[in-house]
């Protein structure tokens, strides 16, 4: 789970990682108070989870109350439905660095990355000028040792006072990484200001979804979901993403669902939603279809090939769902796996025309979607 910048910076503050003076506002009415707290010049930063905010005009630098009001109004009226803005004191920048902690799946270690060339896309830098990134593997049994942080920081060649601040900052970043089961802690840019003080210009914090049970603080609320259907699916533990295409997917297994998504695109079709009701959810056909029906789509495509998720149980669930929910759109089924012969009989007895081949089912769903469109 990815946190908003303001959430990441709140955590940074708790770990004594310096951040600029700021205030979060959710309405233009709070702007005068924010200006009083922050003072000019300041930066208005849209709180959205996608990257490249600067290039997309989602960050504004302002010097006067008039400018600030104009930009705040523009951003709250933005088509992205921005809910909150971080009003932040501008920093006089001497250096822009990069610092992050993530993991190395091959070595089985955490990984510290630091660069003097901050403020840019680190992935691009890694490809074009890899020598500009300092990498340090962290054995998680011992953690980031001070000598490692020193070794990395001294390579930057900054002033003595700045170097010491960076050493402390890296050690705190690692503490945070461990305490919050992070996938990524990133500060980009990490500013050094005109008084040689290090300040986190931005903050990115991603918490491992599998660790949510021990990281309750970050449990997402209703406001964190884009649609009602996505929220409802999350409450059921059903993986779900809403798109804006024609075919609603109700599949089992992440890999198979992703493959069906590909096959639909090869056929020139489009996907209305991604939904997985396999694994522990295979008895939830009724709920799964109810969620699917909340999304505008022209046809629902059901593809499974389960082992524990028995085909006959899933087929019964689908028949029950159709009887209960009376879907207003065609349903295409392709249910295979454990007890697949019984599943075919169940579906046929309910008046459905079960298919047995994934590609054939995808073609049929695409054809039906086009026919409905005409």
């Amino acid at each position: 789970m990815k946190l908003y910048e303001y959430q990441a910076k709140q955590v940074f503050r708790e770990f004594d990682i310096p951040v600029p003076v700021s205030m979060l506002i959710t309405s233009i009415k709070q702007l005068p108070e924010a200006i009083q707290t922050v003072s000019f010049p300041c930066v208005i930063k849209s709180q959205v989870l996608s990257g490249g905010r600067g290039k997309r005009g989602l960050i504004a630098f302002v010097r006067t109350p008039e400018e600030a009001a104009k930009e705040v109004e523009r951003l709250f009226g933005h088509e992205l439905h921005i809910r909150s803005l971080l009003i932040e004191q501008a920093v006089t920048i001497k250096n822009e660095l990069y610092a992050s902690i993530t993991f190395d799946p091959v070595a089985g270690t955490a990984l510290l990355l630091v660069s003097l060339s901050g403020g840019v896309d680190i992935e691009t830098l890694a490809i074009d000028e890899p020598e500009k990134i300092i990498k340090e593997a962290i054995d998680m049994r011992s953690g980031l040792m001070p000598h490692q942080a020193r070794h990395v920081a001294y390579q930057l060649g900054l002033s003595d006072s700045t170097t010491k601040q960076i050493i402390a900052l890296l050690l705190r970043m690692y503490q945070l990484f461990v305490q919050y089961d992070a996938e990524l802690v990133e500060i980009n840019p990490l500013f050094v200001n005109d008084k040689d003080v290090c300040i986190a210009g931005d903050g990115k914090l991603m918490i491992d979804d599998n660790s949510m049970f021990r990281q309750k603080r970050f449990e997402p609320g209703k406001a964190d979901y884009r649609t009602e259907a996505e929220f409802e699916a999350s409450q059921e533990g059903i993986p779900f993403i809403q798109f804006d295409g024609d075919i609603g997917l109700m599949c089992a297994g992440a890999g198979l669902t992703t493959t069906v998504y590909d096959l639909i695109h090869y056929e020139g079709g489009s996907v209305a939603n991604y939904l997985e009701f396999g694994g522990p959810n295979y008895k939830k056909a009724v709920k799964a279809m109810e969620i699917c029906l909340k999304v505008p789509s022209k046809v629902i495509l059901i593809v499974t090939f389960g082992t524990i998720a028995r085909a006959d149980v899933m087929a019964e669930g689908i028949v029950e769902a159709i009887q209960k929910l009376k879907p207003d759109r065609p349903i295409v089924t392709c249910i295979r796996g454990t007890n697949e012969i019984e599943a075919v009989t169940i579906l046929k007895n309910a008046g459905l025309e079960p298919l047995f081949d994934t590609e054939e089912a995808v073609r049929k769903a695409c054809r039906l979607a086009k026919e409905v469109a005409l």
Partner: protein
Amino acid sequence: MSIFIDQNTSVCVQGITGSEGSFWTKHMMDLGTRVVCGVTPGKEGQTVHGVPVYHSIRNALKNHDIDATMLFVPPKLTKDAVFEALDAHIKKIVTIADGIPLHDMIAIRQRALSEDAFVVGGNTSGVISPKLAMMGSFPHWIERVYKKGNIGVMTRSGSLTNEVTAMIVEAGYGVSSLIGVGGDPVPGARFAEFLPLFQMDPQTDAVVIIGELGGTMEEEVAESIQNGVFNKPLVAFLGGRTAPKGQKMGHAGAIITGGKGSVEHKIEALTRVGALVAQRPRQVGILLTELGVRKS
């Protein structure tokens, strides 16, 4: 012959008394797997399908030799159970748990590497050599999916594996051994680490990998071919070609960040070293035939 497991491998089942553990232990034994003991703390003295249960692996070792251990243990408890097996110097461990915390998997991966052990999983169906033995949960009784043959398979997926192996069988082939490394961002063991075993296995004439977007496991396979570690024919099927960038869709490990891990990059790496990449599951069988792989 097979890799990783055969009918002579002595297998322990951790979590054998649970409903899943008990259910799949029965299926593992039905296929021919030599399950010698089980472990569930607090249940020593019981038996499950005739298999004696112990409080701990150390207790089980007093009466049994254990070559490999199969975990039916919830994700939160997996690190402890894997470490118990590693502490007992067991070198083959399979964990199917879906939802193991990332930091736990980093610790597991590091120990497995430093102790030369294979930890297969999590978030996988496990390992199977059709007609011989399995550790995990596969519908081995469906002949059109798990027919014995000469194709080695490695996969990051579950249901998709059934879909692809069915296509391998449809084309007139069968499976020698199948290793599910799982769909997590940090799997305990990686594709490339099994290639030397498939290379040595006389039963395996070719290998199919079922990969997907995200990570670098497919690129590592290409590297092994480049280095001559593996030189049998190889066909890959990669899911997620049209997946939206930056969106976590499906497995946690399947995400493109900043251009890294894209399916295009993987296809380029694999085709450069002579592997063939199927666009659809059905093409996997067709490409094996194109490569001249003998039909069983």
